[in-house]
């Protein structure tokens, strides 16, 4: 009954269960993103401090997080922390912790490059116009930084959502796991279920991330100087 394979979606509450799984994915990625933004802004400012010690610390942190695959970081926190320190972290907590650390590094680098991309003459021109320090920041520097920062931050959110698909490998029941459960439960009635379920999950991810990417692209085009 190959042609009827897609009907598995409408059997019982299967589709709703998949959406619920997607909800778990989104919850983890949005919490991590929400933590990453303020922490990343702080980290980005920390990175612009001209001090060899803080520079070295931030460089090592950034490079280590960037070079390690996110899955390795997940394993280090989820399996390593339990074994080495006896912390019994739940898989959801580990995932949010890792993605927030990763997001902080990425966001920090975005903030840093946005901050150093403001040419010095912007500060000097503001001063020449008789603006105070506060006015300079709020009316000249921050608006320009935000223009560069916001599209990139939105892109970071889509990357976060895509990366969250990895959490199935540390046993969180999210959209992929729910999909597997549906496939396994209907192995005999719907032998082609895997094709449809994974196909649908593919498009669920696509229709989650695509609109966000479009917004980022629109903003980027609009604010291009």
């Amino acid at each position: 009954m190959q042609d009827l394979g897609i009907s598995i979606l409408f059997k019982g509450t299967n589709f709703l269960r998949l959406l619920g799984g997607l909800g778990i994915t989104l919850k983890i990625s949005l919490i991590s993103a929400a933590l990453s933004v303020p922490l990343g802004i702080a980290f980005g400012m920390f990175m612009t401090i001209k001090n060899p010690v803080t520079r070295a610390i931030s460089r090592i942190y950034l490079d280590f997080i960037r070079i390690m695959p996110q899955l390795v970081l997940l394993f280090i926190v989820f399996f390593g922390a339990t074994r080495m320190f006896g912390w019994n972290l739940s898989n959801e907590f580990s995932a949010i912790f890792v993605f927030a650390m990763w997001g902080t590094a990425e966001m920090g680098d975005l903030v840093r490059s946005a901050l150093i991309s403001i040419p010095k003459h912007q500060y000097e021109s503001a001063e020449a116009l008789g603006m105070t320090k506060l006015q300079t920041y709020f009316q000249i520097i921050i608006p320009q930084t935000l223009r560069r920062l916001i599209p990139n931050t939105i892109n970071l959110v889509t990357r976060m959502i895509k990366t969250t698909s990895l959490v199935v490998l540390i046993g969180i029941v999210e959209v992929m796991k729910v999909g597997q459960q549906i496939i396994d439960a209907n192995r005999f009635e719907y032998p082609t279920a895997a094709l449809w379920i994974y196909g649908v999950i593919f498009f669920l991810y696509f229709f989650t991330c695509w609109p966000i990417s479009i917004v980022a692209k629109k903003l980027e085009a609009k604010w291009k100087n």
């Binding site: 695959p69 390795v72 394993f75 280090i76 080495m84 990366t163 698909s165 895997a194 994974y198 696509f206």
Partner: protein, 219 residues
């Protein structure tokens, strides 16, 4: 730290690193070819094809590799397309990487300024000559940092291959943790393996980036 454990099992990691690199490099090379093709289609505004390329780029950039792999490895056999895990890995990496490479090449092609074309034209160069001697050398040079970043990104992404039962580095580490519960040692070797593979590429990337900064003209 149990050093004898590390001594005993590091050859497993070596083998797994070989597999990661083989599939990674094959996927990256295919991704570069796809990228060259698609960016040429976009650059020359080939009708119809450019629409298809645009759809492909959006599909590939907005879905995770793990989902793509699950579809290839578990989904496609249901309609009779049975692929080996390694082949799935290469196809998945090509599908994902192709769009990232396309963006890298396209943006550096577009970064070549119009004055360059006009100057070439005023010197009496033909279209092919302009492309060969003026546009491509500049575009290639400016695309280097993005391409290196993509290579690192794609090699990192190979870590999800363990999800479709390919015995890559992640898989070996997970296996050892499961078998012997030597979590610290297994993870240490995993981190070391990825550092040994990725750190040199990252350093070369930084050096290249510094070099090609001189290649930008007119800005």
């Amino acid at each position: 730290m149990d050093w004898t454990f590390i001594q005993k099992y590091w050859p497993d990691y070596l083998e797994a690193a070989g597999l990661t690199l083989r599939i990674g490099i094959a996927g990256i090379l295919c991704a570069v070819l796809v990228g060259i093709f698609c960016s040429a289609v976009l650059y020359f505004k080939v009708p119809v094809l450019r629409r298809i390329v645009a759809v492909y780029i959006e599909l590939s950039r907005n879905t995770p590799l793990l989902v793509q792999l699950f579809f290839l490895y578990f989904g496609l056999p249901k309609i009779g397309i049975r692929l080996e895990a390694g082949t799935c890995g290469i196809i998945g990496l090509t599908f994902l990487g192709g769009s990232y490479m396309t963006e890298a090449f396209r943006s550096s092609l577009e970064a070549v300024e119009t004055i360059q074309f006009e100057s070439a034209q005023s010197l009496g160069m033909t279209g092919v000559q302009t492309l060969r001697f003026v546009v491509l050398p500049q575009a290639l040079a400016t695309s280097v940092p993005a391409v290196v970043a993509n290579i690192i990104f794609l090699l990192k992404e190979t870590s999800v291959f363990s999800g479709i039962a390919l015995a890559d580095l992640m898989y070996v580490a997970k296996d050892l943790i499961g078998l012997y519960y030597q979590t610290g040692e297994a993870l240490l070797m995993l981190v070391a393996a990825y550092l040994i593979i990725l750190l040199p590429i990252s350093i070369i990337g930084t050096i290249l980036e510094r070099k090609v900064r001189y290649a930008g003209f007119g800005n």
